[in-house]
Symmetry: C2
Subunit: 404 residues, 2 copies
């Protein structure tokens, strides 16, 4: 008897019909003899509607109350899913994040799961019930307050709960068929991957391939919980994210991320400690820096460029301007008309020359590379936004289509 | 420094503008130096919308999940009210029923408050915060599940919390100006009462005068918490419900209740224990019987009639039919085309002949009385629904208008 955690997102729960459809799928799994835990997001646009309400009532940010407000969303969907399942004659019970023992840090809006104490979930499973758990939310043992986990939070709930319960698999139901070799909206020849390793998925997700957030993959990797990313609209097999895969191609897929912003600080004095001071300032603003490039210094002054996620651009700019003033740099430029294109594959570890091939393919396509960063299994290039589609297509053709 | 509990219903919180208006009123009270606890219902039609959603998803009753669903309503309004208050520069914090320590029985949908342990509310007040508490909801210490208190539940939360905190007053904000001598929609001459005693309010509420539910008044009576029922739309004084009142008129007001159903069991054998068996059956079905009348027996068989709240009519009929069959009665009739008209006043205790005057006034108005029930400070008559308005007007004219 397997223990399965199934996560359904807001699109899969957008209305009463879809909720009943989800209930039917869950029920089938339970009837087949599995122990089933269902993690749900808020229905459809609920979260956006609640954020809109808050915006109409208040002009300021109230992180604690915003979390109190938003957690109403999953509360509604989990109760409805439980009712729909019980209508199929299967006993079900819903738990809030707090009731399910999802313990988090006390940072409202982007709390991290620190522990899971799923006593009530286990008891309910032992009683033969399907358990529905509110995704995206938890409770801080320090503040005793309800918290939310931020973007992709329901996936994190599902994977972490699967790890805590020792589940056999964590199924992430979504509105696409699985993980693709490239964004099918950009590349007609993109194909669904049957499998991808945790390590590759981590790089791929971090490079902008949607569906899964890196933090969920990290959980799965650390606890070796296979994730099955699949469609909520049909029964077909999706993509398995797991420890070992049958083959290790040099390039598993091509990801792109058009939400990268580049900041350039001009006229940085070329003396020890200046760069350190800058990036300490940026780090204190809570911004993660992705790529960094430092230009050759002329007459003791040089330029330094770095990229940050677009959502952190304002915070990064403020910090950079502060630092620039402190060290006597001349100005800060912001450029958000860029995209980062990455090729990811575990085979890179053993196959040499992948980076050179990337540069050659982009060069042959007439695409200029602004910045480069690499890991053991990833090569990323920053290009002009207008070149992004061509770059993805050329790299997909050069690496993925040739071997398939 | 007074401690004030203020309760705002769904109409007062129907949209962003009204929520900001409520926040402004609360803030004024806080700025005036009071410690303020705000109890809120769900916004406008939220509860009905959630019930509708449940109806679309599921065909059966799921009491636990329904409570989980409905409690999302107050969660939304309390977070929004807290945000709006903080926008005025006043620190505020919202608590769910569970966080506020509202401990209840475990009967979903109509739980009773058994204890209140408002540690977090007290701490937050001590920190100078306005505290917003979700009305209508609590938590069962036995089942660890969230419960709702049923109709009028937010008032019960407010009064019980006022008692637990030793508040100076519990203000119930509503869409009318206070408690009236009769329903102003029926009686043009009806006037707002400046004050009414707990005891009178208890009878008046039980007799169908809206605004307050008897259970809330009982709490106030038991703990001697003055209730101020007032409009949420203006600053005018409403009606004070309290221990002592300046005067004790024979009739404080005329209430009517058109949600009474009469059941009649025909051909009941006239032998000891038959009536007891019937009403035991009714009680086991959880139905409260209001008036009872037993007709003279002919040939060893008689009729028995009793009234129940309209919402309990189906349950009462089933129980009555079972009992009728068991004792060999012939049939059960149901009549819901009726209204109960009551005159209430503490002065009745010392002034005799009030019941006789009620019967005379109704008789002079050509209205037939079907059943009668009385208490020390109330006389109630069951009349045809078509006669209800005339009966209220005649009694109001005869008792209230003459003395005003």
């Amino acid at each position: 008897m397997a223990l399965v955690v199934q996560k359904f997102g807001g699109t899969s729960l957008a209305d009463a019909d879809r909720i009943r459809h989800v209930a039917e799928r869950v029920t089938e799994n339970h009837t087949a003899g599995n122990r089933v835990v269902v993690v749900v997001s808020a229905m459809g646009e609920t979260t956006d509607e609640l954020i809109g309400l808050a915006g109409n009532v208040s002009e300021r940010a109230h992180p604690r109350e915003m979390d109190m407000l938003l957690t109403a969303g999953e509360r509604i969907s989990m109760a409805l899913v439980a009712m729909a399942i019980e209508d199929y004659g299967v006993p079900a019970v819903s738990f809030t994040g707090s009731q399910a023992g999802i313990l988090t840090t006390s940072v409202h809006g982007k709390a991290e799961i620190v522990d899971i104490t799923p006593f009530r979930v286990r008891d309910a499973l032992d009683e033969g019930k399907v358990v529905i758990v509110a995704g995206f939310q938890g409770v801080s043992p320090d503040s005793k307050d309800v918290t939310t986990l931020g973007r992709g939070g329901s996936d994190a709930t599902a994977v972490a709960l699967a790890a805590a319960l020792g589940a056999n698999v964590c199924e992430i139901y979504t509105d696409v068929d699985g993980i693709f070799t490239a964004d099918p909206r950009l590349v007609a020849a993109a194909r669904k991957l049957d499998e991808i390793s945790y390590e590759e998925m981590l790089e791929y997700a971090g490079a902008g391939a949607g569906v899964l957030m890196p933090r969920s993959v990290e959980y799965a990797l650390r606890h070796d919980i296979p994730i099955h990313v699949r469609s909520s609209f049909h029964d077909g097999v999706g993509t398995w994210v797991k420890e070992e895969t049958m083959e290790e191609p040099a390039v598993r897929g091509v990801a792109h991320d058009d939400a990268e912003t580049k900041l350039t600080i001009h006229g940085m004095p070329d003396r020890p400690g200046v760069a350190a001071a800058l990036f300490e300032e940026i780090a204190e603003a809570g911004v993660n820096v992705d790529m960094i490039i430092q230009n050759v210094s002329i007459d003791g002054f040089g330029d330094i460029s770095f990229t940050v996620p677009a959502e952190a651009a304002d915070a990064a700019r403020k910090a950079a301007e502060g630092a620039a003033q402190a060290v006597g740099a001349s100005s800060v430029d912001v450029d958000d008309d860029l995209a980062k294109i990455s090729v990811v594959g575990a085979g890179m570890k053993t196959e040499t020359g992948i980076a050179a091939r990337v540069f050659r393919i982009l060069s042959d396509a007439g695409i200029n590379i602004e910045m480069i960063s690499t890991s053991a299994i990833r090569v990323s290039c920053l290009v002009r936004a207008a070149d992004a589609e061509n770059a993805v297509r050329a790299l997909h053709e050069g690496f993925v289509e040739v071997v398939s």
